[in-house]
């Protein structure tokens, strides 16, 4: 992917995601209560905590998928309710599969991530198609781009979801449990892919129960329990030198 181009922000330098005394949830008892959190451009933040601690709820509140019932969410300095450039946040949901009831190819699923960048009457341009191809390339699925997603492995399907988010060329990538249920080799390949996105200047917010595979790229770990922030620390030492640039080890196995 090319480096991210930054549209002019109303408040340049403001945090990409900011929660101010935010409560998120449904009904009388919100899942997340009075959380304040600032995520700056370029950070790679892990959101950790036990089941039910509210980490997925925070992400869903930020993305507009769960109601914010108290406080405020600001995106790129703009109150979330007035923010109309949702594509600037790319969402990789926690799904173990992208297989629907109707067959679809990797290319078709990834291309659906590009729609947010054009008006409904505009057909895709050559530039749109190029970005979709690059997104498929970044996650190492070029050989499978015309394959039906139902024939892919779980790890490969996860990478399809990442490519779909990348197709909008977002500045922030919000991921829910990207390494859950993926074997060690695939988790490694995934982390290498994410490292390249960080190198492009993207901000990452990753919900995870296991920071170990992501440790080489994390800059900060925010811990949640019972719907509140209980820890906010810089991540441990980065991975061994040269780790990020190790060539030839990422992506799909060589074609046979």
């Amino acid at each position: 992917m090319t480096a991210v181009d930054h549209p002019a922000d109303p408040a340049e330098g403001s945090p990409v995601i900011e929660l101010r005394h935010t409560s998120i949830g449904y009904g009388a008892r919100p899942v997340v209560e009075d959380v304040s959190l600032r995520i700056e451009r370029g950070e790679v933040v892990a959101l950790v905590g036990p089941n039910g601690s509210g980490k997925t709820t925070i992400v869903r509140g930020v993305l507009g998928l769960a109601p914010v019932v108290g406080g405020e969410v600001r995106l790129f300095g703009v109150p979330a309710g007035r923010f109309n450039e949702r594509w600037r946040l790319g969402y990789v949901p926690q799904r173990h599969t992208v297989v629907g009831a109707v067959p679809s190819t990797v290319q078709e699923v990834v291309a659906s991530g590009r729609l947010a960048r054009r008006r409904w009457w505009q057909p895709p341009t050559a530039a749109d198609r190029a970005v979709v191809s690059r997104a498929i390339d970044v996650v190492g699925l070029v050989d499978q781009s015309r394959a039906s997603v139902s024939t892919l492995s779980g790890g490969q399907q996860r990478r399809v979801l990442i490519a779909r988010a990348l197709a909008a060329d977002p500045e922030v990538l919000v991921m829910d449990e990207p390494t859950a249920g993926v074997d060690a080799a695939s988790a490694d390949a995934l982390t290498r892919t994410l490292a390249r996105l960080v190198g492009d200047g993207r901000t990452l917010l990753i919900v995870t129960h296991d920071v170990a595979p992501l440790a080489p790229i994390l800059t900060r770990v925010v811990a949640l329990a019972g719907g509140s922030v209980v820890g906010d620390d810089p991540a441990g030492p980065p991975g061994p030198p040269g780790w990020l640039g190790d060539p030839g080890l990422h992506g799909a196995p060589a074609a046979g």
């Binding site: 507009g64 659906s112 892919l152 492995s153 046979g256």
Partner: protein
Amino acid sequence: MLHYAFMQRALLAALLVGLTAPVVGVYLVQRRLALIGDGLGHVALTGVALGVLTGGAPVLVALACSVAGAVAIEVIRARGKASADVALAVMFYGGIAGGVVLIGLSPQGTPANLSAYLFGAITTTTSGDLVLFALLSAVVLAVAVGLAPRLFAVSNDEEFARASGMNVLGLNVLLAVLTAATVVISMRIGGLLLISALMIVPNAVAQVTAGSFRSSMAVAVGVGVGASVAGTGLSYYANTPSGGTIVLLAIGVFLVASVGSWLRSRWHGRRHHDMREHPHEHGPGCGHEAIPHGDHVDYLHDGHRHAAHGAHYDDH
């Protein structure tokens, strides 16, 4: 049979339905709402009955009724209450019951009249109906194909579409209205009891034969047009109801396609592991012994060698 004007109209109507219904149905199948069309058919019956009772245009009143029903369904679904399922069922029963009672009340309401709507009476299509069906089909096709990428995105993953800023409710209501219009177009041919069969069965064939969304749509349209035109012709010669004949033909194609795809996957399966049945992705340090083999690397797996090839492993 082609020199009868009513058969010409019947075959044209069959062609329109065969073309339109699968294109709308593909999104219903993708959203796993295959049965919604049937419910809309039930609601449309009240509209038909209202049209018959008031002496107005049954087709237009049915269209208004099922569009209203479709929008109501989407609103009920969007609220996502646990009671939505039961609320929809009540609405569908109300549609059938209201239709049956209203037709019974109307002076022209005979059991034969009712059964024409329930089971289809393609040969009663008038030229006025045909013009209306053609207009509706043109609009439905233009929207369903023109907005295909967006309808695909929303049907494939509603949450992702919402998170990326698409107007999800708007697109869902649009799809519901397309479905309602298709129900009305199919009414004469399939009958209200089989109304969504032509939306769904051709897509069931596509599901077992196609590899992409685009080819699914093409396969479904092919099966839809073939079954509805051939079924209409067959019903003329065999003197059977058109709706049932068309649907049985389409189901026959589905059975043949299913058996064919099962045989093909057994044949391929010998030397071929789909990665979905093989969740482990071979790679450096995966625990399986790596054996360089020409231009690629095989991995020793249960006594044989796996070589990645596109989305599957070949045994070497």
